[in-house]
Assembly symmetry: C2
Homo-oligomer: 258 residues x 2
């Protein structure tokens, strides 16, 4: 497929590389910043542009891969009408693109991307949605050319999926940061808890998280929880977080009320 | 070494196996429940007992591996005085054992254990502490016979380390459970976000969590955060959690106030 990439961020960078590796051709790369466009376009052997009016209609697919809250603005400036257009965002409905394009869809890679980190795209779940059967078939084909895990997910489901991803990725990462900060205040190395972090995530690859919950709240160890809250005295927000998360763990074991 | 194992839970099970694999001999296994003692003792070729008064002095080390809040009670019933005694708990100070034994220490494996899941003990960080240089040397030697990652950590540091472990393991696991619940309510499979969970934990093996934070709060995407809170309408506790965690992520980027 000939593909036009609108955006040059983390997702665009990883997705572009995966598409080129699978034998697709990237026609143009757009970024607000011409240098960013040029950098990614160089790697993908594409033409860089920094003006959405320069996007050419000689392409099979336009992929808008910008921040969730910029999708609509960017879409409104793309002058092409007869090409399939998708975005790659978890939280943006198909409706947003429908205002501007007849045939459009979503091509949402459910993964956390950093430019500096290599990643095997074949293991990234791809969530597909579109306005019509023909586009769906094309997007499923394209998805399968770069990933082993392609699913049709509608906009309502994707909203929840994106929310679940925030709970499963963004929030745990923040808690890792809290742990790192606590250790560093006591001259301990973050490296000490890295195996624990990895094992916790590995466990839920084969068990449901509810089944493998451990820790003071799980065993109703009030003495330890009180000692932890005491240690957090200087961090009222983390105390509140500790309490709320521990209450959640305790509640998880209770039978649902009638 | 001849070792007596007091306890038959997750930690005792994994630790006992690692010790036997490294060529140590388990003399006795105690559990309140004789069946549990017998089961673990069978695997470790040891003698099972369910009465602490039956523990024999012909041993080099007594390992108390029971729940954090049971350590003191169990210690008070062990009739032996001239043997090195350690516990394996993150939140219990050395002080607690000192009340009952002259030479004592801590042998804390910093990992999350489930009986049903195999684990390579060599990658488990072991945190050692003791009352005297001789015991420290013996515990470091023992630790190195089963793990590549043995560190001396004093009781004050270990308290913080245990708290950090709750933030890095128990709380993220709870958030995985929340994600699983949200997905299941919308007929989606938890499997969809497993790669995301694993990649999030893998990332912080080579980067600091602060450096790889992503998501709506990180990019100050108020529209997406509002939509997520709306989706959580039926779950006031999770709304509160979402807000608190998002505020934490936003605050993490702010320069410390003067």
């Amino acid at each position: 497929m000939r593909i036009t990439l609108v955006g040059s961020g983390n997702v665009a960078t990883h997705l572009g590389a995966a598409l080129v590796n699978a034998g697709h051709r990237i026609a143009q790369v757009w970024s607000r910043d011409l240098q960013n466009a040029a950098l990614l376009a160089y790697h993908l052997k594409a033409e860089p542009v920094d003006d959405l009016s320069e996007i050419r209609p000689e392409t099979d697919l336009i992929v808008i891969s910008v921040k969730d809250d910029a999708v609509e603005t960017v879409a409104s400036f793309i002058p092409i009408k007869n090409v399939l257009v998708v975005h790659t965002c978890g939280s943006v409905g198909l409706q947003t693109l429908k205002k501007y394009f007849d045939t459009c869809g979503v091509f949402y890679p459910l993964q956390t991307f950093s430019k500096t980190r290599e990643l095997d795209f074949r293991s990234v779940p791809l969530c597909i949605e579109s306005t019509d059967k023909n586009s769906t078939a094309r997007l499923l084909d394209l998805g399968r050319s770069i990933s082993n895990n392609v699913t049709y997910i509608d906009s309502a489901q994707r909203k929840t999926l994106h929310l679940a991803a925030v709970f499963a990725c963004n929030f745990p990462n923040y808690l890792y940061a809290v742990a790192a900060e606590l250790l560093s205040k006591q001259q301990m190395d973050f490296g000490l808890i890295k195996p624990l972090i990895l094992e916790t995530a590995s466990k839920v690859q084969s068990f449901l998280p509810q089944e493998v919950q451990t820790g003071p709240a799980k065993r109703r160890d009030g003495q330890t929880m009180a000692a932890h809250l005491e240690l957090l005295q200087q961090y009222p927000e983390w105390q509140q977080l500790y309490t709320l998360l521990s209450q959640g763990i305790i509640k998880m074991d209770e039978p649902p009320s009638a």
